[in-house]
Symmetry: C2
Subunit: 555 residues, 2 copies
Amino acid sequence: MNISILQKERYNYNPKLPQSLCGSVDDIDIETGIPTEAISDLAELRDIFKQTYGKPIITFAKDGEKKIENSNREIKVGVILSGGQAPGGHNVIAGLFDGLKKGNPASTLYGFKGGPSGLIENKTITLTNEIIDAYRNTGGFDIIGSGRTKIETPEQFAASLETAKKLGLDAIVVIGGDDSNTNAALLAEYFLNNGTSIQVIGCPKTIDGDLKNEHIETSFGFDTACKTYSELIGNLSRDTNSAKKYWHFIKLMGRSASHIALECALQTQPNVCLISEEIEEKAMSLNQIVDQICASIVKRASNGDNFGIVLIPEGLVEFIPDIKKLIGELNDTIAAQAQEFAAITNFIDQLYWLSSRISEPSYRIMQSLPPDIAQQFLMDRDPHGNVQVSRIETEKLLIGMAEKKLAAMKEQKQYSGKFSALAHFFGYEGRCAFPSNFDADYCYSLGYSAFVLIAAGLTGYLSSVKNLIAPASQWIAGGIPLTMMMNLEQRHGSKKPVIKKALVELNGKPFKTFAQNRDTWAEKTSFLVPGAIQYFGPSEVCDSTTVTLRLEHCL
Amino acid sequence: MNISILQKERYNYNPKLPQSLCGSVDDIDIETGIPTEAISDLAELRDIFKQTYGKPIITFAKDGEKKIENSNREIKVGVILSGGQAPGGHNVIAGLFDGLKKGNPASTLYGFKGGPSGLIENKTITLTNEIIDAYRNTGGFDIIGSGRTKIETPEQFAASLETAKKLGLDAIVVIGGDDSNTNAALLAEYFLNNGTSIQVIGCPKTIDGDLKNEHIETSFGFDTACKTYSELIGNLSRDTNSAKKYWHFIKLMGRSASHIALECALQTQPNVCLISEEIEEKAMSLNQIVDQICASIVKRASNGDNFGIVLIPEGLVEFIPDIKKLIGELNDTIAAQAQEFAAITNFIDQLYWLSSRISEPSYRIMQSLPPDIAQQFLMDRDPHGNVQVSRIETEKLLIGMAEKKLAAMKEQKQYSGKFSALAHFFGYEGRCAFPSNFDADYCYSLGYSAFVLIAAGLTGYLSSVKNLIAPASQWIAGGIPLTMMMNLEQRHGSKKPVIKKALVELNGKPFKTFAQNRDTWAEKTSFLVPGAIQYFGPSEVCDSTTVTLRLEHCL
């Protein structure tokens, strides 16, 4: 990798820290709350997390009484980047590094290479000033790489412990999403159960924004990713408002939660934005969804506006009950007779083969889909025999269905517009952008706070920075016991402890604000064009964060 | 449309003007060069442009002797946005408006709505301060809309004249690409031939960057569009360097010239960038192109790097001689027996039908293409029976071909890597971004300069601003006679005057710089991540323009 002009300038950016973390480490005061409980399944979780269950919430402050003992001791920490990239990961590491070195210049930060497998296989690099400086305020996870390996088997836990012991680690920091942080909690428990004092601290990352609850106001990277997608959506809005001849159907990253689509809708005011959680809640059929899109198209056409913007969350199809059922039936049917099915190479023959094997409603849906998309339901199965939902081009599916419906309406003289649509998918483009000032500050604070949790001797905590709509100096840093955010969920046939995923709340202010406006947006051209993320300039432009966060936390 | 925070801030940006255009209109000095000639076909062009052929180049200066007579008279101008959007169009209009009003506050600027058809059909709005202010430094062409109608028939010319007379216009400004400016020249000639003094001035727009010659250093919008695409390419580069598992195949806008792909390659340093002009020059086959891509994939795989970036210009397929031949044969064959072909609905039968009707090499290519892409060559024909090249997913075509070749190499033990590829197309995303500071300044200067050309009583000129790598104050404004950039080209069976399109020059410094580096880039990870366009901050970040321009004009 070479260094661009912007990257050089971003090296000069000094991330802002909460007041409580500024100054000497000795000065940080540790405020301890009362013991906590999990969200549900208390008894079972208490049993799984015998050592780490129910710890108190920790808040850092100034001018209190309970200081960190021996805060300037030499500490050895290993850090892991886990899962998909999110802007700001490098700053978490930089904040952790700077905290450690401030505490004691002899302290060491190891990076585990390529994700959790780096811990299992003891693949590390020692992070030096030179290395850290080359990655400050940059996007990506390339400083040490990331990976999706999970630490699950007894052998993997044992290997992790062995690596930690070999390196003489005091603590491990896991930067990841809900699964990775669940893993961090299990690792913390495992280390204690095996008589070591090695601590484990998590940091909340996901651009999907679904690692969120009353203690985590937002996961890092969400702000930058949404701004990048909104830049592109806004540009397309301006383009179509100029050319006045295309409907852009834009699929956005976000497999299980629609936070990204919702935030982008609030930032750009498209004509239609589908929210998976609402579709599931209302048990909407694919036809009903297409009807909703066509209602906007027809209404706008009657105003002479044969153009518009539709936002679609990536995971949509799995939230449509009838499609979910279809996918399940296809998975089961094809898996059961895999060889027989594989021998049929022609789509029409495949469809005929399926006709007597899947339910009639499902078969009717298969027939109604545009043929090229229907084929995507039958191809490219994953190693478990399941269709790879992310490969289904939902945006093209909806375009094809809308074309069909509009043609029918035209015949019935219910519609007389022109419909020409273009499909887009924005996902990878936003995962590694230079973190916004907000994400740069937030991530750096999370990393620094992780260091303080380690210095304070804590384990099984998630680094936490709250009050995020205030200026950074007023942010509240501390730690949340990981067990506090857990419940038990069915996974691969057995109940597992997991951090609860946060889906879009239909009673929440962000969705309600969207819902209040969408009828207007569906008809009128109300587009907003946010433009590219700005790192310099007026504070209103370069420091403000997501609309979601503002709506959730402002009065 | 609503107003975003960035848009509000961009209203405060004051575009910079060349020194010669600052201050009072009275002070501007008009320097007149010697008579000029066309590029070729001098006699024919002199005959077509009897009134406007061979005029001198005009340069604006300060402190000279030849001032504009009666520069403060009241002037009525109509402005047209023609063709596809390019960032900065609104600023051309703002510069023109401000010049007019500075000359005389009673002067009027009409906007023709929806492109040249607005002139033909007399659909206008009067541009007021309020309207102009709402669009300063914004992207898009939505202030008055754009269109692709060409003024070609005698009736259209007559209608244009009628509109101009009705409005009492002194001049018309056409903001457009090579075709639109050719049209502007014909209109200028027509007006003079019909005994009116209505002037016509052009402004050089195209994000494709192919309206360029020794007098037009760059067409407006190219800078902003390339920065927007490079932001996304850079983000994907950072992403794949973090995840280390995907090859991103990225198609970029640019139908006939590969300037965008080349500029983006210089900004981001991808592993492979195809340049249509080189492929045509070397008469490369599709297989040779795939070989070139696979050479990089195999080399990098041997270094353990199973990831990378490939850039593909949109118009590629038409520059590959064997594919061009195939497309020609398909167009002719299918057009000749359209009904018979339309009756065949199955791809395999279509292929069989073609086998005895197209040449053997072409048939072999059809067979070698991934079936879903081969089908794109047969579907969606335009009203003339031709395949719509822009609908062919070249990026997926190349992925499919590379997969096939790599599988064959694997069998022969020549390759042992993993190949997983993702396809992208970036085009519409860049056409309506907020113009960069460079494009905001350049466009405003072009518009202001167009006003001065009008005030000076000139017609058949292109507004010109040169010396663009210097600070804006040192830019050189003036006018280039449109006939000077013309030659005759074969269009629809007869020779027509046209402004010559500028393709990528294989002897030019931008291509040579790319060619010198590409072997290294093909193997090593040399990615550059430019980040989002910045409108504020250090001048190096927010004011610098394209690498192409720097290489073409720096020593």
